[in-house]
Symmetry: D2
């Protein structure tokens, strides 16, 4: 046990006196790393408790320090804490205040650790917590999509499937919405995998060689909710792949949100007219009361690139960096903070957008029924094919009928049963039913298809998976 | 069952006749997607077998097609296959040849599917297979690192730990090498997670709405080794997050390789002199026989940015893209191919580099023992602290001793026991032992530390994990 | 002058015998750097001529080498040159063949230079030439846009201006097209600036310290069309900002092309229907003859990210690289080649797309006249404001009229003069004329506005600038 | 002239009442765009003066507004301005306060313009000004490098040239330093080119179609220091290539700074020992007084990736964006602000680092003279070659001598004249002089070479160019 007098006080820190103004400006991080205050205090509390358990610190000292740390937390929460640039970063700010509050004994909090393992622990802890918050945000957006899908399924709303932004075939709007919920469900999975992989506590690595004191890294890891301590002290202080992996998961999630946002923008244009977005997520005009600019969705789309940029920032920072700790690694924080904030906000904006969206079933149906689409051409070709007409011949027949219908500005079915039968002898009276939108949808009943029972089941299964 | 005459022949494909030369040049993909030939044939074999099981195709037709597909595979393997630009891509090249070989029945291979689900299936299958190959490459590099660690541990080789590229403390070289094996073990985990998540088969999505035929997507998924079919047809053809996630895993892996490469470059400089790289992975000079340029490591370092770029390419391609299929998605292949090739090669280069590296224990020891490093200053401060000297005072004492030693160009221990005792009364005869490199290493015996038994166990545990 | 026997033959090159397969695979570059063959030969011709002028090489030797180099060029052009992987790169392939053709004297070509300055010269030369080709491609697209603008101006075609993809105000289609030509004109300027800045010849830097022979770098620079030699030998071999700058110019150009491509995709959707793209740049369907998928434009849009990735690749490769030459720099070539090819092709595709586009004036006019747009609301508010109604009050009046018109499904002007006058006493009979599309356009007659004379002049001025 | 009552007051702005919290959070920009306050006020002053000149605004109104704008500027400078989130952005904040100060007439400031052209003007103006500041920062770093080069030239300090981080040949340290000043001189040129190209004023474009009032864009452009107005109103509000180009210039500059930073880090390691960095730009240790961690240089190196990320952010934001204004464009500001701040700071840090660097001539000389480098091998081969020994043979002779010297742990020259003469009969007494470092440097006297007179002239020429 360390004698009571042994306080690694502020003296341990050399400070920025006499430094060039530019060095100070580039070096000081308190204006952004103060966001880690709660994790820093939690980390110190776990560390101090472990020091006591291991007999490195007297119980009374540990209690005094823990008490002081809680008082610091209280001050920060109350907004009365004095963050000082002179103290460089959140770690030294808290340590300075701790010593002011509890006296020299406070300096012992740093026994057996270094800023290198301390900062890595803080950031991992913060990332784990934020990752769970973002996953909750993903779930909220997933809920919004599933609810909308359920509602639109019950209304039987149909929308064109687009390939190349050209109308191709009718599908249920619910089915389309589920495609987005599938995508973000994988995003949630990526976040969870990244979290599990990063669930290793760096405390105990000290400056990078491991601590020279008889500490127990397992205890601190467990107390902070990590699965285990890191396995190698150099890796513990040098690794930032946990940041890069989380940023990659966020970047892909933002790419998915940008696709959903693009559809909301497209669909709310006068040309599409498929959706009317809520006034709460759009902005308007003082003279045109009907105007609804999809600012929210546009910003989400625009911000995707920002998170891609954050990911690149982190990858570049670690590229070619020798072990163990280099100051370049300080660039991990702002990139992660920015990506987390951006993604959280974008999720909330898209959830509100989906919840407030009024889909215009009539406009969508109009698009499907348009006389220039010929979504039913595939159906007619399939009909002929099933009845033995060779594909090549079937395609030729349908192509000629399409040409004819286009000239007459009619749908294929509007050409009439006689005309169709004249085109091929296999055509029966059931052909017109087959050319209907409902029939086309109902036939797609295999797994992953757009038939109504299949979509209903897909919603139910998604609900079950999300509820876990 | 479809009547025998029903062949969706080549006629189904409109072709590039009459297209602008620029459109042809940008559209044709056979020069790069031919790499997917095996996956395309495997996918078709599974599809045809399923069509037969479901009664959509007669058993004889299915057999004829399967036989034809195998002949096509044989021709490609033998190098006799005629890849044609007129047939645009690998799918149409194979289908064209299949019909040439087995007649019109070959056209039925495309019944109930579309190029949209076909190409997505091919690329997923290819990615799964390549991901496993790369994971094997990671394991080979891991083996090389573990072997080197074992050898250097048995030799007791010590190296300075660097922070800010300044010597900080002595650690075992084996411990340093294990830090790299830890990092790439997580890379292997990322690849496996991505693989598991992407183990969904798109076959059955057809153009994006699901197939109108009574197919069984579960059978094709199982036959191709996927865990299950995709759950939503739009998502099946529109999703490329499986590519982005794999690229992100490769980008992080390349970042790790670039760090290892950087150390090999640094350490093989005359200034460090810590390692002599094998002639097999370096290039030389015709007149300076001793010259060994670390070209392999430099190229690995330089190529990290290339894979970062591939990742960016994919993310940007899907940003803001509405569902379902858009031609932009064709940009998935070259980015993935390039990243896979680059990473595979880089892994092989680094494994060969590590296997052939001769570490110079004497030069490393010299660096630790250098009279300008004072790695033992921390040890002396800890020694005083344990004996009750307050940290601040202990630091002050050591700082003065360092100044004195620097002037005298001596190590702290070379100041002698008298001088140390004069500096602080708590100093005992055991202090000189404590200031030794071996003692400093031995004290770091907690989990993740550099003490020899700890490192030995870390190697054993790593071996066990890798062997699974 | 060097004695005739002095041939720095193949022996100067150590070769890849005994190298690890992975090192060979990562090191050999002949499969991609063969594209530099013409620049390599041009560089050697200039170098040899200079060596002769400076008296370092006998005139006869120089003539023999020059003759040999021209024979090598002939073989490569004829497709009979044997590119060998054993000779690593294009420089050694050519040198080897030169010596085969002219004997040992061929080895003197390398006197006073090194591969470090040679490869930098080749790539600069290639970049300069390709940059001019791409600028010509930009001009061709600019021509296509100006021609389309002239045609549509003469037809008086009007299109909605979109903000937030919502219809805002009517503008001339010609005016809209000119916006794109403005953007790419700046791209051409960026390429020219980059070219001018990179117009420095590295020959003479040798390995990086400068040549030890009495060479004249000014002569080689002039012979190769550079403005001057580089100013510093380390910089000459280490600098790759000329690549990064050109890639940045290409990336921005691709971003611009992706915007134009996006509009072609949007406008050719059935929902917009503003343009019918030529069959020569779209792909179709075998059964739906009217189908025109905008594959060309989609691929251009998708490929923007690819060039962004190439730029990132180059920036990352040089990040943190010490001087002078490092092998990482070999990564400059493939990134530049890919970006140049991609951009050239994309320019050609977009030029063909614009040339073949048939704009549907009726559909655009319909969009402007739609009863849900109220583009005339701004005009009415301005009308009131000019007549002294305070803005706030004018806006309130118009807002109420818009509400009323929306309910009645009428345009503002269709509310009738009585209704408008009832809303504000300042309204005169001229108000209806003011609310017309033509009036709104005609009023925007200041510089950069959409009024017809202004657009006409803008086209004329653009033609003049482009013709320089 | 607009009647005095015509005030486009706050009423013109709909506000965020009733908006979803997420929309507000993503939409409001006052917390970052307040940095544009001075440009916004300058733009409004120019606009109001033009409105008066054109007779759109009464002189008294214009005077009142201008006076109010100056008072707003005063409040912001004094720190008493109340920035309100409810007012969204800097434009509305200033307009609101202006109206508070001067009454309803203040609303007329917005006559004939829109936020679309206003924000584009503000950002261009800000970018122009910051670009000049950064160019000044580049010059200061250039000065520091030139001064150091002059000093080290006068001291005759020699450093090894490295290729592949292997010692290759001796060069003057001054020559090495000049390589960096060359690189950043091109960066300054890129900034200037970007500035010139962006020197077009968007005012007059209004929402994108041009203003409907009889304004004079030339007057505002001139008043704000732009070369001319933009040429097309859609382009004026939609273009952000001026941001992307400036970001590209900054990214390349940061890549250059990261190379210089890397050398400072390498050279200040104990292994190299070539430089002792000033305490003012390094951080230390409380117990090891000699410790100097190169934090400043490390952070500059790490931050390079950040600016690469900012560039990617902007490119991605504009990718695939249709004309004219979309809210995505709001992402231009934070990326540019961050890159400008980061680069400015990095320039200052590197200038301070160079100014405070003490180069250790003895350690550099030691590296050159090291018995394992054989930098003189090239010289000896050249010596033989000049005297008629064929290159291949010369290389073989030198290779054997190197092997022999290495075994004997001697330099080539230390083998003695007899041994050298025994190796080749052409060797004369002058050979030892030729093998000296000074001779090797002096021979490289052609342009761009490292010979002292050449370096002296290069410094003088650089000074002259920079002084312009």
């Amino acid at each position: 046990m360390i004698p009571v007098s042994l306080a690694p006080e502020k003296g341990a820190y050399v400070g920025l006196q006499g430094k060039h103004a530019a060095l100070k400006a580039i070096h000081v991080s308190i204006h952004f790393d103060r966001r880690l205050w709660r994790e820093d205090i939690d980390g110190s509390l776990a560390h101090v408790a472990m020091l006591a358990t291991c007999g490195i610190l007297a119980a009374a000292d540990a209690a005094a320090i823990a008490d002081g740390l809680r008082r610091v937390a209280g001050e920060i929460e109350a907004g009365t804490f004095d963050f000082r640039e002179d103290d460089e970063d959140i770690h030294l700010n808290i340590e300075r205040r701790l010593i002011e509050l509890v006296g020299p004994v406070g300096g012992k909090v740093h026994t057996g650790r270094s800023r290198n393992d301390q900062v890595a622990t803080d950031l991992r802890l913060w990332a784990q917590r934020k990752s769970m918050e973002i996953e909750a945000g993903v779930r909220r957006l997933g809920d919004a999509l599933l609810e909308a899908a359920e509602r639109e399924l019950s209304r039987g709303v149909v929308i064109p499937l687009y390939t190349h932004l050209q109308r191709a075939q009718p599908v249920l709007l619910a089915h389309h919405l589920l495609a987005h919920s599938e995508a973000i469900e994988r995003d949630a999975g990526r976040l969870a995998d990244a979290r599990r992989r990063a669930s290793e506590c760096p405390l105990g690595a000290a400056a990078g060689a491991g601590s020279g004191w008889p500490i127990d890294p397992r205890q601190t890891a467990a107390a902070l909710g990590f699965d285990r301590p890191c396995r190698n002290s150099l890796d513990a202080v040098a690794a930032r792949d946990f940041v890069a992996e989380m940023l990659a998961a966020l970047a892909i999630l933002m790419a998915h949100l940008s696709r959903l946002a693009e559809e909301m923008i497209l669909w709310s244009s006068q040309e599409f007219g498929f959706v009317r977005l809520s006034e709460t997520v759009t902005t308007g005009s003082s003279i045109m009361p009907q105007k609804r600019n999809p600012d929210g969705a546009e910003l989400v789309r625009g911000k995707a690139g920002r998170v891609f940029g954050d990911l690149q920032t982190m990858l570049v920072a670690i590229k070619g960096l020798p072990l163990a700790y280099n100051k370049d690694l300080q660039e991990d924080k702002q990139a992660l903070f920015d990506a987390v904030d951006t993604t959280s906000l974008s999720l909330a904006v898209m959830a509100a957008t989906i919840r407030g969206a009024e889909f215009d079933a009539a406009r969508m149906r109009e698009a499907i029924d348009a006389r220039d689409g010929y979504a039913d051409a595939t159906e007619l070709a399939d009909y002929l094919a099933e009845r033995g007409v060779p594909f090549r011949e079937a395609h030729g027949i349908v192509r000629r009928l399409c040409d004819e219908a286009r000239e007459a500005k009619l749908r294929l079915s509007e050409l009439g049963i006689q005309r169709l039968r004249a085109a091929s002898a296999v055509v029966q009276d059931d052909v017109l039913g087959r050319l209907s939108v409902d029939a086309a949808i109902a036939r797609r009943s295999a797994i992953m298809g757009t038939a109504s029972p299949q979509v209903k089941q897909a919603i139910a299964e998604a609900r079950e998976r999300w509820s876990k």
